[in-house]
């Protein structure tokens, strides 16, 4: 028998979304309402397992009467508000945000980035060849995962997943300020000297591929990474009795990465070092 979690009944909030009367449960965000209505709003720093940080500002929408645009991911729908997701102002800001990000950061492994850049007619190259970029080298200081800072958009998701929202390890934080801010361990020490427990929950939430399995990083370097040739098999971790779901990503009969379904009630997408990285014995032939 499948257990269906019951929630307290919620009141519905009525508001106008792109000219349509919309009803969503109280407490829903504008983004929730957009998704329920089948609208595709770009998001980067929003994560289904995390409290929105609304740092990337790519999901901004126009709320009538407000001086500035609102982030759809964290602004709650309020009764009577009039929201337009596709106004020229909102589209303009999204376009600029995409241009600012793409001109400073490597978005080559960010899912859908290329598609959005095309859709919003963003031209990241118009800031000229001298536009400042992050210009960071990947940090490879352990056998399990790689931090490719050139791809980091500082969305804070890894910090939140490592810290109070999931893992409570607090191995990383944002250090520095402004354009020079970077996700960092204390004094930028290697991960091996930090509080990192290698749960890999930061990789799970990274929206740009800045954090990736060493196996994926190496295969991408070698040009052998091929997502279309991969199969995904969800199984149950055998290490302990918790019963975490693992999704094994397999390419050419080798496990190349391990994730966990975000809607799994046991893990919410999180694993520990054993579930995330402890698969080598399977491939010892």
């Amino acid at each position: 028998m499948t257990a269906i979690p019951l929630q307290l009944p919620r009141r519905l909030v009525e508001f106008t979304l792109d000219g349509q009367e919309t009803r969503v449960p109280e407490g829903s965000t504008i983004l929730d309402a957009c998704r329920a209505a089948g609208k595709d709003i770009p998001t980067l720093c929003e994560g289904d397992t995390l409290t929105p940080k609304n740092a990337c500002r790519v999901c901004v929408v126009e709320v009538e009467g407000a001086r500035v645009l609102a982030p759809a991911c964290s602004r709650k729908a309020e009764a009577g508000m009039t929201v337009s997701t596709d106004s020229p102002r909102a589209r303009h800001s999204r376009k600029i945000v995409l241009e600012l990000l793409a001109s400073s950061t490597d978005l080559s492994t960010t899912p859908r980035a290329a598609e959005w850049i095309k859709e919003y007619k963003a031209r990241p190259d118009r800031f000229g060849p001298d536009a400042a970029r992050l210009d960071e080298e990947p940090k490879v200081d352990n056998d399990l995962y790689v931090r490719d800072y050139d791809k980091c958009i500082q969305c804070y998701k890894c910090v939140d997943a490592c810290g109070e929202q999931w893992q409570n390890s607090f191995a990383i934080s944002v250090a520095g300020r402004g354009f020079d801010a970077r996700i960092s361990t204390e004094h930028d020490t290697p991960l091996t000297d930090s509080a990192c427990v290698y749960c890999g929950n930061c990789i799970e939430v990274c929206p740009t591929g800045a954090l990736s399995f060493k196996s994926e990083f190496d295969m991408r370097e070698a040009g052998t990474w091929n997502e279309s040739a991969q199969t995904e098999t969800t199984t149950i971790c055998a290490y302990c009795g918790v019963g975490c779901n693992l999704t094994l990503h397999v390419q050419e009969n080798e496990i190349v990465k391990v994730t966990s379904p975000h809607d799994n009630p046991v893990t919410h997408g999180n694993l520990c070092i054993k579930g995330r990285f402890g698969y080598q014995h399977v491939q010892q032939r």
């Binding site: 609304n54 740092a55 990337c56 500002r57 790519v58 901004v60 500035v68 645009l69 982030p71 964290s74 102002r89 303009h92 800001s93 376009k95 600029i96 945000v97 600012l100 990000l101 001109s103 400073s104 118009r126 800031f127 000229g128 001298d130 536009a131 400042a132 958009i153 500082q154 804070y156 810290g163 409570n168 390890s169 607090f170 191995a171 990383i172 934080s173 944002v174 250090a175 520095g176 300020r177 402004g178 354009f179 020079d180 801010a181 960092s184 361990t185 204390e186 004094h187 020490t189 000297d193 930090s194 509080a195």
Partner: protein
């Protein structure tokens, strides 16, 4: 939370600096040297330990003040004491411009390069310093000099601040001769309880150990001891403000900050001082800023008595009827803010005074705090009473050493005389004020960033809603007001709301302070009723006959032309004229300044001060600066493409940034292009 520490150990001096703030460690879990049997049986931690997180910023100050920088060992030790993850503490330490996490000389020379100082030769000053001390950022001769954002000394531009790390003067006990107000040999404030006092006049530049005074947090003051006296005289913590600065004076002050010439009295920044008809500035120059008796003799604490007669609701009613709106720039009705805070069922309520005055060109709060510190203490007490707060926090920017000394002294005096503490004026109302010192971050003037800063997190703005009146400091209902807003409450209560509302215009009531600087004959703080025009204000200050532009509201404000002097200086009047009053900055530039370079400096300021949280501001301010760099020597068609680019990026910064910093980062540049015809 399972904290992980590296192998670095603090030096004895670093340990002493932290222990002077927090007391000796209670157990090995907190970093004590010897592990006892009890330590093995009982671990202190959990919520109780984590609740001291707000002492992280004072702790970083303690180490940085003592050593000059924060080493791995010192940071680890502080983290152990406060149960803070080292990575987070590192993130906090690297957020503030006044802290360093790499070794640097004990003496740091901050040279202001912002607009007012640029109009008074800061470029030449920098060149002269490069000749004498080497390039900025290089640590030659035991002194590190670095360009700094506005130091809030615009009336005495160009300005510089010397900070010498060392042992706080409170290390040796002595009696304090309170009451004398010799500038430059100011008596140091005594700390609460049994904490060591500072010797009178022993340290001309004065000790600054802000935020180090715990109030009713369950810590025993009696356990706090200063470091052991040393056999050789240790280097003392000292600060020196040099303004107007010359390279010679700076090199001298950097050599011996303790012996630098005294700063002029605060009244020197008030050209109207002593004139009749002043309300907010009446006491500046007339009272001894150290003397509580003098303050009371000049009408001090009558407003608080009146507040107790009216009761909290009555005070809020008076403030609402008076039409007082916030003077920090946003012009939010103060009465409404207080009412909203007071009516929240969640407890406790907090009062926060925003004295992180960092908007380039603004120095009014400094002058008020230095010239009439008790008025702020009284006003905070009234505000706390009105909103039902028992604790008030005064967040003071780190670049104001004299204001810190004077306010700490004023708070201590007020507490000693029963005007703060468990039973204010015998009325059964308990209220106390803690000073928290900023450490060089413009963004911490944003109200929610300021909360994060006090709480020991990075000073990043929070998203609103929820608003501070509902969830503010420590997640509790909080009223946050600017210094000038708070001191306006005193005349409202003493003179009545009607009389106050009669000053100014219908929509902007009361007197307003203006910070006039740049190329005028008499720069300083001016008090005028709302409704005076820009021309009338400048007439008082003696404008340059060759005015090119006037910057209203600071770097986040906008430029107006010299032919727009009839703009009424009210919130509605400036809005109607398409500009802003902001924090009351009126900065005059004459035709000798190169406007594109001033704009570039403003863009650099925002790039440096962006917290980095949201993309439009973090990257947008960089792109804005790059574009302004490209067109610094171009005009007309050669600049048109970049101006179009600036407009697009500026619009997105204005629309999509989280907070006011990003939203206004483009406004001064925009106004220079549209109103002044820059780059034409």
């Amino acid at each position: 939370m399972d904290l992980h520490f590296g192998d670095s150990e603090p030096t004895d001096e670093e340990r002493a600096a932290v222990d002077a703030l927090l007391g000796p460690p209670a157990s090995a879990w907190e970093g004590a040297d010897d592990r006892t049997d009890t330590d093995l049986r009982w671990a202190r931690g959990g919520r109780e330990a984590r609740e001291r997180r707000d002492l992280l910023l004072p702790g970083l100050h303690a180490v940085n003040d003592r050593i000059g920088w924060i080493s791995e060992g010192a940071l680890d030790y502080l983290c152990r004491r406060l149960t803070v993850p080292p990575a987070e503490a590192y993130g906090v330490a690297t957020f503030y411009a006044m802290f360093a996490v790499k070794p640097r000389p004990a003496k740091v020379l901050h040279v202001c390069t912002d607009v007012a100082c640029a109009a008074h030769g800061s470029t030449a000053l920098r060149a002269a310093l490069e000749d004498r001390l080497g390039a900025a950022g290089s640590a030659g001769g035991g002194v590190l000099w670095q360009p700094s954002p506005c130091l809030g000394l615009c009336e005495r531009a160009p300005a510089a601040l010397v900070v010498q790390a060392g042992v706080p003067s409170g290390a040796t006990a002595a009696t304090v001769n309170a009451g004398s107000a010799r500038d430059g040999a100011e008596p140091a404030p005594p700390l609460a309880g049994a904490r060591p006092a500072w010797p009178a006049g022993a340290d001309p530049a004065g000790p600054v150990h802000g935020g180090a005074r715990p109030v009713s947090r369950g810590r025993s003051d009696g356990t706090v001891t200063g470091p052991e006296p040393r056999e050789t005289p240790a280097r003392r913590y000292a600060t020196a403000v040099v303004a107007p600065a010359t390279a010679e004076a700076l090199v001298l002050a950097a050599a011996e900050p303790g012996a630098a010439p005294a700063e002029p009295a605060a009244a020197m920044a008030v050209p109207q001082a002593g004139q009749p008809g002043l309300t907010l500035l009446a006491r500046i120059g007339a009272v001894d800023p150290y003397s509580l008796d003098d303050y009371r003799a000049h009408g001090g604490y009558t407003a608080l008595r009146r507040a107790f007669e009216l009761g909290p609701a009555g005070v809020i009613r008076e403030v609402t009827d008076a039409g007082l709106v916030g003077r920090g720039g946003a012009a939010f009705p103060t009465g409404r803010k207080w009412q909203a805070t007071a009516s929240q069922p969640a407890r406790p309520h907090y009062l926060v005074c925003n004295a992180d005055e960092s908007e380039p060109g603004t120095f009014k709060d400094r002058v008020v705090m230095e010239g009439d510190p008790y008025s702020l203490v009284e006003a905070m007490t009234i505000a706390g009473y009105a909103v039902g707060a028992r604790r008030g926090f005064l967040y003071l920017r780190g670049e104001y050493p004299r204001a810190l000394r004077l306010l700490q002294h004023a708070i201590d005096q007020a507490r000693a005389r029963g005007l703060l503490g468990d039973d204010v004026l015998g009325q059964g109302y308990a209220f106390d004020i803690e000073i928290r010192r900023g450490a060089g971050a413009y963004i911490c003037g944003e109200e929610t960033a300021l909360f994060n800063s006090i709480e020991g997190y990075r000073g990043e703005p929070r998203s609103k809603p929820p608003f501070p009146v509902e969830k503010g400091l420590f997640g509790r209902p909080t009223a946050e007001n600017n210094v000038e807003t708070l001191i306006n409450v005193l005349p409202i209560l003493t003179g009545g709301a009607q009389a106050y509302a009669a000053i100014g215009t219908g929509q902007s009531t009361g007197p307003k302070l203006f910070c006039v600087s740049g190329t005028v004959e008499r720069p300083g703080i001016y008090e005028l009723p709302f409704g005076a025009t820009l021309g009338e204000l400048l007439e008082l200050a003696g404008p340059s006959p060759t005015m090119r532009a006037i910057l209203l509201g600071g770097a986040a404000g906008g430029f107006v032309r010299p032919d727009e002097l009839d703009i009424p200086l009210t919130f509605e009047g400036t809005r109607a004229a398409g500009t802003t009053l902001g924090s009351g900055v009126v900065l005059v530039l004459d035709d000798t300044v190169e406007l594109p370079r001033i704009l570039l400096r403003i863009a650099e300021f925002f790039r440096d001060e962006s917290c980095g949280q949201c993309v439009p501001c973090r990257v947008g301010t960089v792109r804005q600066e790059e574009a302004l760099h490209r067109i610094v020597d171009r005009t007309g068609a050669a600049a048109a493409d970049d101006i179009a680019l600036l407009r697009e990026v500026g619009q997105a910064m204005k629309d999509a940034s989280i907070c006011g910093l990003g939203q206004t980062a483009w406004s001064a540049v925009e106004s220079a292009i549209d109103r002044l015809g820059a780059y034409k």
